[in-house]
């Protein structure tokens, strides 16, 4: 019997014939923390009496959730983490570098790696064929010291995508459609593995978007094969040597398969307050939007900003709709400036925020007012998520967000073709 991507990677990392359901102890290639969960990792690390970070894995610290710091307490957390970096020699990205998941994709993740971060959206790197999975602060503290962790090998759901994506329909619409179909716990404890002829044409940027939201269906990991497109992406980052092809075996066993015809997808939106509350954007026409948010680890890449800029070119945001754009990393911001997208967005009335998580988790930079609606390209619309339990968060693609910024209400971007 052949192996799924999850079984292949965990077999290699554990030195066993890992099969779904087995519990294995696996070598971790990259462990990382960020500024909201990282301080607890460091405290647990010290509480356990650990002094050294294991030399068997790469470790990283990212300041991205509250950057630049909005208050004294978070500024002190940043100080605490900088001090830990000085003591341990971890890879470090300070304020303004960008979101951990984007930087991991740009410079650290390799196909076949086992990556554990103290952030649930660590799954993003699955877009490059890495078994990337979020854990809590204590698990990562132990990983920093031991270089390994225990994992239950997940069963896999095979998602096969065929057909040509219609214009302005993207990976974001695909993953929202899938979560709407299987539910917010439809893949709990399992691996979501994507394949099919459409996937073999999908850009890494979109694969990262899809993998990023695997956790919103409860999945442990969202995995893509590593193929020619992965190779081109890594080469473009100056990391050609990090590539290796990685595919599931043809006779791998899946607990469930889901077939999606991309040609029949349309722009989708998740309504408050759960990610599986998904409907076509056109059904929400007339829903007024006070804030549009384009960015985050889900959709803050150059391709996303380009889509938004093309729709907003020569147009203005609706006077009652604030438009905020936050690139996922410094490199994305620089490329977006060089391509003229940032100028286009500024002319349309956008506020450009520094690379980071921004208001996605409600700490600063666009917290919502009572009764306000926000359409964001992020991944979560939980009650209170954007800092106010009296506000409403809708999730959509960069195209849907840009179109809605122009009209001031939720708008199917096909109206702006």
């Amino acid at each position: 019997m052949g192996k799924t991507l999850a079984e292949k990677i965990l077999s290699e990392k554990s030195g066993t014939e890992a099969r779904a359901g087995d519990i294995v102890v696996a070598q971790v290639d990259l462990g990382f923390i960020q500024d909201t969960t990282g301080p607890l990792t460091v405290r647990q690390f010290r509480e356990a009496g650990f002094r050294k970070v294991s030399g068997s894995l790469r470790t990283a610290v990212f300041l991205d959730h509250a950057v630049p710091s909005p208050n004294r307490e978070l500024a002190n957390d940043h100080l605490f983490l900088r001090e830990f970096v000085r003591d341990t020699d971890c890879f470090f990205s300070d304020v303004g570098g960008g979101i951990s998941h984007q930087l991991v994709a740009e410079s650290l993740a390799r196909p076949g790696d086992l990556i554990i971060g103290s952030d649930s959206h660590t799954v993003t790197a699955g877009g490059l064929g890495a078994f990337a999975c979020g854990m809590g602060s204590t698990d990562v503290a132990v990983i920093f010291h031991l270089g390994k962790t225990w994992l239950r090998v997940p069963e896999s759901i095979g998602v096969s995508v065929s057909g040509q994506f219609p214009e302005v329909v993207s990976g974001k619409d695909l993953i929202l459609h899938l979560i709407g179909l299987i539910g917010a716990d439809g893949a709990t404890y399992q691996s979501l593995e994507f394949g099919g002829e459409s996937v073999s044409r999908m850009s890494v940027s979109q694969r990262l978007t899809v993998a990023n939201m695997a956790i919103e269906a409860g999945a442990k990991v969202g995995l893509f094969p590593a193929d020619d497109i992965t190779q081109e992406y890594l080469a473009a980052q100056g990391r050609a040597g990090d590539y290796r092809p990685l595919f599931p075996d043809e006779d791998a066993a899946y607990v469930r398969t889901v077939a999606i015809n991309a040609a029949r997808l349309e722009p989708m939106v998740a309504r408050p307050h759960t990610v599986d509350n998904v409907v076509p954007a056109r059904e929400l026409k007339g829903t007024k939007i006070q804030q549009v948010y384009i960015g985050t680890c889900t959709n803050g890449r150059l391709e996303d900003i380009e889509v938004a800029a093309r729709i907003l070119k020569g147009k203005k945001r609706h006077p009652e709709t604030r438009l905020m754009v936050l690139p996922a990393s410094r490199a994305v911001l620089q490329a977006a400036i060089a391509a003229g997208f940032i100028e286009t967005l500024l002319q349309a009335g956008a506020v450009i925020l520094p690379p980071g998580c921004g208001a996605c988790l409600g700490l600063h930079q666009g917290v919502l007012g009572d009764g306000e609606n926000c359409l964001t390209t992020a991944n979560r619309n939980f009650k209170g998520r954007m800092g106010n339990s009296e506000a409403f968060v809708y999730l959509g693609s960069p195209a849907t967000a840009a179109a809605s910024a122009i009209t001031g209400e939720i708008t199917d971007p096909r109206e702006f073709r």
């Binding site: 519990i23 969960t37 031991l146 442990k220 339990s389």
Partner: protein, 166 residues
Amino acid sequence: MLKGRVHKYGANVDTDAIIPARYLNVSEPEELARHCMEDIDTEFVNRVRPGDVIVATTNFGCGSSREHAPLAIKASGVSCVIAGSFARIFFRNAINIGLPLLECNEAVDGTEAGDELEVELASGTIRNLTRGTEFTAKPYPEFMSELIAAGGLIEHTRQRLSNRRT
């Protein structure tokens, strides 16, 4: 033996609901507990008593990897959480910090807010004293039982490292 009254919730209680991100810079569990559930149930912190049990339907603890969520629940005095299912990162975090979780659909269906429960963790036995009913939760995988017996992941790792040295 754990004993307490039930606080009941529905599906998809996410970690932003358990503890909003605005409190993630708080390191004292007691302070986290003062804000537990505040965005979905403002009365929880006033109602909860030591030993009480949270009962929820499915996908409890979905969302962020914040370990502050099980820490806030534990520090609020809750002795265990019973649900039809848990999100996996939350499940792992709770075990790591020593908050017991039990999966049992029947107990969830047969329990209402305010009922008094008695829970025997070792056997997974859940008794509803208010209704005179009894349920058995799914047993933990053996590896997880070891973690729980050791008192969480940090203790488990410490013990293994010191055994190796001796």
